[in-house]
């Protein structure tokens, strides 16, 4: 409403007519708009609290645990011996320290990349098959979304603690930082265009300013999340994939170095924040 009024005032300005009444209307509407925006924000917060009690992500966590323990692939073994960073088979707290450098793969990996690695190395599934279905659609579910829900839920309440002690981790962080500020695509957008200033929003969605620690923590620690509007859990890989789509960037390849670099940058900036994922979002 606020924006519509302002636009209309601008249009009239070009014609030179009726500028004054429209400007007055614009100012009035802007004032009302600010109050409305605040009420709306409170109401959205209230709605979030109401639905937080029955987060369907729990269904995905249970399903993911089943997949984790199920013997699968040509080698017919489960993922239970998968090393997510804190030793083979340890799931508790691992998400707080990802992405990290893994010596066996000589690569910095985020959770999804590591899960793919384990499917390939432990279960003998081909890399193409392991990566085939990272995001669910209306007519097929994704095992990856369930697995990620299970693993991240085991880090609930743990403080983010991503380390940059290895040279490759530092390189990934620096690459991610570069990507965050890199402007490109038909809109000449960077991540920072939407996420580099306070109090920005798209429609009613407040955009976190990922350059300040508080916003970065709140954003990162609530992904993955069950998206009510999409009826599924979305992973952090999906979140970045969708940001790229919204920027009209080339499609972000699942578990690519680019995706891991950006994740490393954002995860490290969220250090100190307490994980609350999988969360529940609109």
């Amino acid at each position: 409403m606020e924006r519509a009024a302002v636009v209309r005032a601008d249009n009239k300005d070009k014609g030179g007519n009726m500028l004054k009444p429209y400007l007055v209307a614009a100012v009035l509407l802007a004032t009302a708009g600010a109050a409305n925006a605040q009420n709306t924000q409170q109401e959205i917060e209230r709605y979030r609290q109401m639905i937080a009690d029955g987060n369907p992500a729990e269904l995905y966590e249970a399903k993911g645990e089943g997949i984790w323990k199920q013997k699968r692939g040509p080698k017919q073994v489960s993922l239970e011996q998968c090393d997510l960073g804190l030793g083979a088979g340890v799931v508790k707290g691992v998400y707080a320290q990802l992405p990290r450098y893994f010596k066996d793969a000589d690569r910095v990996m985020d959770l999804e990349t590591r899960l793919v690695h384990c499917m390939v190395s432990l279960q003998g599934i081909s890399e193409a098959d392991a990566k085939r279905n990272p995001f669910s659609t209306a007519d097929r579910t994704s095992d990856m979304e369930s697995l990620v829900s299970f693993v991240t839920a085991e880090s609930k309440g743990v403080k983010m603690n991503v380390s940059l002690s290895h040279q490759k981790e530092r390189e990934m962080y620096q690459l991610g930082e570069k990507m965050f500020y890199f402007r490109g695509g038909p809109y000449d957008f960077s991540c920072a265009t939407c996420h580099g200033e306070d109090a920005k929003r798209i429609r009613l969605q407040d955009l976190p300013n990922l350059t300040n620690a508080k916003d970065a923590q709140r954003a990162y620690t609530t992904w993955p999340a069950y998206r009510v509007s999409q009826s599924t859990v979305r992973t952090f890989q999906w979140r970045l994939f969708d940001c790229f789509r919204q920027q009209r960037f080339p499609a972000l390849e699942f578990t690519s170095d680019a995706s891991v670099a950006l994740t490393t940058f954002l995860a490290k900036n969220a250090n100190g924040g307490t994980l609350a994922a999988p969360a529940l979002k609109r």
């Binding site: 639905i51 009690d53 029955g54 369907p56 729990e58 269904l59 249970a62 209306a138 009826s231």
Partner: protein, 104 residues
Amino acid sequence: MADPMKIRAAMLGDKVEVKVLMSHIMETGQRKDAKGASIPAHFIQNVTAVHNGKTVLSAQWGPAVSTNPFLSFRFKGGKAGEKVAITWTDNKGDKRTDEATISA
């Protein structure tokens, strides 16, 4: 075979508060797929809750209920340690029953 429900049941004063998450697609029958063909309706029609052989809740649902529904209700007469069983039946005849123990 449908995925299991997630049921929590706990004493709240003299009542039992039950919270149920069901895994179901809840397709309305109104939507069309990429080729323009209707996606057939597929949704939960009946939900019942049974405690000590007695039905404490019976509900008829329709396609307006969301995907992966969440149901919360309270009933009198239950005690900690007893069990509550929830059953849903959908319009394709698929059925699922899960049980939870009431916690203090």
